[in-house]
């Protein structure tokens, strides 16, 4: 049984249908990447899974149970955590408060465990340590992104949905973020990743799907995709195969 099984997923906004029958599976312990052009439907797929969209039909099963139509809160409690693109850090709360909010689905957590988790996040993102008491609105764009990722990791979900975690981060931090993604998988969290940085995404992913205008164009292991000339030209920038 797959951890997450999506079958024949259709999603529509006011402007029209954006997903036309998507089939995606994620196995326990995998890192799966969704790639594709802007507007292909990657973010819509993640939003469908986490219950943020109304007009969807098809099958979305998590651990064999349907989660389609459930509230976002119920889906988080089932073990799916979503780090959306666009940061959404609370401007009036401190970095510490923002990160701790990520653990609010685990209300029975002891203060000590929470602090250990917070400390773990600060080892992931040492830059945040000196900013721990700074208010959200005083941070730069890249710092906000670090806070958003740290907050999402606090939930320690079974399945983590990551939407463009490397957006706006310096190269040094991008490398760090992908090391973290590999690390949290090693600790037992399954990851479904939307990423524009295909090079980095494919370096950590076990499998990837390439979306084109709401359909799966091709899927497979990273080396297969890297060697597919059509995919390379359309989505990977036509780059030469990189030593990954």
């Amino acid at each position: 049984m797959s951890l997450l099984a999506i079958g024949g997923l259709h999603a529509r906004y006011n402007a029209g249908e954006v997903l036309h029958g998507l089939d995606v599976t994620v196995e326990e312990g995998e890192i799966v990447a969704l790639l594709g052009a802007n507007g292909a439907g990657k973010t819509t797929t993640l939003r469908s899974i986490s219950g943020l969209l109304d007009n969807i039909t098809g099958k979305i099963e998590f651990e064999g149970k349907s989660i389609l139509g459930q509230s976002p809160g119920a889906i988080v409690r089932a073990g799916i955590s979503h780090i959306p693109e666009g940061r959404r850090v609370f401007p009036g709360l401190t970095v510490r408060e923002n990160i701790l909010l990520g653990a609010s689905n685990r209300s029975r957590l002891s203060r000590a465990t929470r602090d250990t988790k917070l400390e773990e996040m600060l080892t992931y993102f040492p830059d945040l340590r000196r900013l721990i008491d700074a208010l959200g609105w005083t941070l730069s764009g890249g710092q906000l992104q670090m806070v958003a990722v740290a907050r999402g990791l606090m939930a320690r979900p079974r399945l983590l949905l990551l939407d463009e975690p490397s957006l706006g981060l310096a190269p040094l931090i991008v490398q760090q973020v992908f090391r973290i993604i590999a690390d949290i998988r090693a600790r037992g969290t399954t990851v479904l990743l939307v990423e524009q940085n295909a090079h980095m995404a494919l370096s950590v992913a076990d499998r990837a799907y390439v979306l084109e205008t709401g359909r799966i164009l091709v899927s497979g292991k990273p080396d297969v995709l890297w060697n597919d000339p059509q995919v390379r030209a359309a989505y990977l920038g036509g780059l030469a195969v990189v030593d990954t």
């Binding site: 906004y13 006011n14 402007a15 790639l35 594709g36 052009a37 802007n38 507007g39 973010t43 693109e85 666009g86 940061r87 830059d127 900013l131 005083t138 941070l139 730069s140 764009g141 890249g142 710092q143 992104q145 670090m146 463009e164 957006l167 706006g168 981060l169 310096a170 190269p171 040094l172 931090i173 991008v174 490398q175 760090q176 524009q196 940085n197 295909a198 090079h199 030209a233 359309a234 989505y235 990977l236 920038g237 036509g238 780059l239």
Partner: protein
């Protein structure tokens, strides 16, 4: 995309928005006038029903004013009944006590209200949101007190009676006809205003004040003008109200009435004067229909208003308009190529931008700590550095959003001093934002039109503005999305809209804050292609970016910031192999 076919579409055919020419409003105007005359002829010539229609017609003119200030410009005003009151009292006092003709009384009412509206608008210089709302409430309350207590002028609680109607229009049918014709005029004016340059500027201020400023819009001036126009419409409604009932008193123009007028605007749809019309007539007539419910009627009326608000948040008209209008077709065929250099290009000096010892401190935090470098004209200059190193702060100081603590910025040898953002934009600087700032209530095309309307960019004719905006959209490959609401575009394409908006203004210096964020590798290559084409046109670009492949491909020069200071400055080859840059920023050397 980059090669233009010879067949170029004439500007007249670029009818993607109805606003390009004023005469496109004529059929609606004619239809409105016919309806006005018909209603005036069919309505009873006296009695209760006539009074109800008169009240609705005069109120609706005032509610159209709320559409301007709240719907278009996003500034809350809870004093609209007060402006009706000023208009009504000016009309009453001038016609009754001074014997002035009705028409002159009306003009005076509009002018006096306009002046008070501008004064109230000045309050928006320092105040926004809740605070501005409080000021408008205070203004409203003071007006009611003056009307009640300045007995020598206003007659106090007894008000002024015996207000005449204009000669020849004393009859109920005729006077109602006058009110309705002026209502049609007010509605048409408000409708056309939305599609005009001024109306677009107001909507830009509503959707994003910061981006409006850096598009060259004087945000404060636009707010003051919106308050002025809104008050003048209130004054016109009030002047007609006085003639309709031949009697005015303070209790007709209280804060409660301002709330009713706000409800009318929101219920009908605050984005359109047609909504104002619908909302006003609904709220004036609905209680009359519900009177058979006796004691329960006020409760039912209140419940009906709440239900409409909950289920039709865009108002009655907003709901209907969505179903009535399909989006405008997008013009096919090729467009005139985008002339990228503005009239001011070829300025003296080899540097487009000079920065000298620039510092910006936030309390104890030195976000920028003495930065100096020049951006050569016609070059692509990259600014890189770790997250939080001060790059965006630097851009915000350059574009006037933050005031520098010390240091100097010169654009084409002209010191920028403490000029506000719109003045800097006027002198040839446009920019994009890291956390996208588009005008969400507008279409893709309207967003870019606001860019084309940059002061200093000599494009005045509406068709030329449309044509230029479409060319800029063509340049970034988004012309076919021109008539979509900008919010419906995916993240990466909204970035392109911002770039098109900045380009449409023919800048001398383009500031880009992380243009490649959210683009995939292929799209990044397209962007790098686009930047090279811009450079080929002689445009100077200062770009903040974390994508080193892109920087390597386009940059002539790189400056690296860390903790608000310059740690390296030179050619890409020198900078990207600099040990300090690798340690602080890159992590590993960029592969050649």
């Amino acid at each position: 995309m980059s090669t233009m076919e010879p067949a170029i579409v004439a500007p007249e055919k670029l009818a993607v928005i109805p606003a390009a020419r004023w005469w496109r409003g004529l059929p609606t105007a004619a239809a409105g006038l016919v309806v006005a005359v018909l209603v005036a002829a069919v309505a009873p010539g006296h009695g209760y029903t006539l009074n109800i229609i008169m009240q609705a017609a005069t109120y609706a003119i005032g509610v159209a004013g709320l559409v301007v200030v709240l719907g278009y410009c996003g500034q809350i005003s809870l004093a609209q009944a007060g402006f009706l009151g000023i208009g009504a009292y000016v009309q009453a006092i001038l016609t009754v006590h001074a014997g002035v003709p009705f028409l002159i009384g009306t003009v005076a009412a509009v002018i006096v209200c306009g002046i008070f509206g501008l004064l109230l608008g000045f309050a928006s210089l320092r105040l926004g949101g809740h605070y501005l709302a409080m000021v408008t409430i205070s203004f409203q309350v003071i007006l009611t007190l003056v009307m009640t207590n300045w007995i020598g002028l206003t007659g106090g609680p007894d008000g002024v009676s015996g207000i005449p109607r204009p000669a020849g229009l004393e009859d109920g049918h005729a006077y109602l006809g006058l009110c309705l014709v002026l209502l049609v005029g007010a509605v048409l004016f408000t409708w056309r205003l939305k599609l005009s340059r001024l109306g677009r500027a107001m909507q830009a201020v509503r959707d994003n004040e910061i981006a409006a400023g850096t598009c060259g819009i004087d945000v404060f001036q636009i707010k003051v003008v919106a308050f002025g126009i809104s008050a003048m419409l209130g004054g016109l409604g009030g002047a007609l109200f006085a003639g309709a009932f031949s009697y005015v008193s303070p209790d007709q123009f209280t804060f409660d009435e301002s709330i009713v007028m706000l409800t009318m605007a929101l219920l009908g749809g605050v984005q359109s004067p047609f909504g104002a019309l619908l909302g006003t007539f609904t709220l004036v007539i609905l209680p009359e229909w519900l009177r058979f419910l006796r004691e329960a009627y006020l409760a039912i009326y209140g419940a009906a208003v709440i239900l409409i608000m909950i289920f039709l948040p865009e108002g009655l008209w907003g709901w209907a308009a969505k179903r009535l209008y399909r989006r405008a077709p997008v013009v096919e065929g090729s467009l005139p190529p985008l002339p990228l250099l503005s009239q001011t290009a070829g300025l003296a000096g080899e540097n487009a931008l000079e920065v000298d010892g620039l510092a910006k401190h936030f309390g104890g935090l030195k976000a920028l700590d003495g930065i100096s470098f020049n951006v050569r004209r016609g070059s692509v200059h990259a600014l890189i550095g770790p997250n939080g190193s001060g790059k965006t702060t630097f851009l915000n100081v350059i574009s006037g959003l933050y005031r520098a603590t010390s240091g100097a910025v010169r654009l084409a040898n002209v010191p920028m001093g403490t000029l506000p953002p719109h003045q800097r934009t006027k002198r040839g600087m446009t920019r994009t934002y890291q956390n996208i700032r588009v005008f969400r209530g507008l279409t893709v095309l309207e967003n870019v039109m606001i860019g084309a309307e940059r002061p200093g960019n000599d494009v005045r004719d509406p068709a030329a503005v449309v044509s230029r905006a479409l060319s800029a959209l063509d340049f970034v490959g988004l012309r076919h999305d021109a008539s979509l609401p900008v919010g419906s575009l995916p993240y990466g394409h909204q970035r392109y809209v911002e770039i098109a908006r900045a380009l449409a203004g023919s800048p001398d210096l383009l500031l880009l804050d992380e243009p490649a964020a959210g683009l995939n590798s292929t799209e990044k290559q397209e962007l790098s292609e686009l930047l090279r084409r811009l450079k080929g046109h002689g445009l100077t670009i200062l770009v903040i970016e974390h994508d080193m492949k892109l920087i390597e491909a386009v940059a002539d020069h790189i400056t690296v910031l860390n903790f608000g200071r310059c740690i390296a400055d030179g050619t890409p080859r020198e900078v990207l192999s600099h040990p300090e840059v690798i340690a602080a920023y890159l992590g590993e050397p960029v592969p050649a």
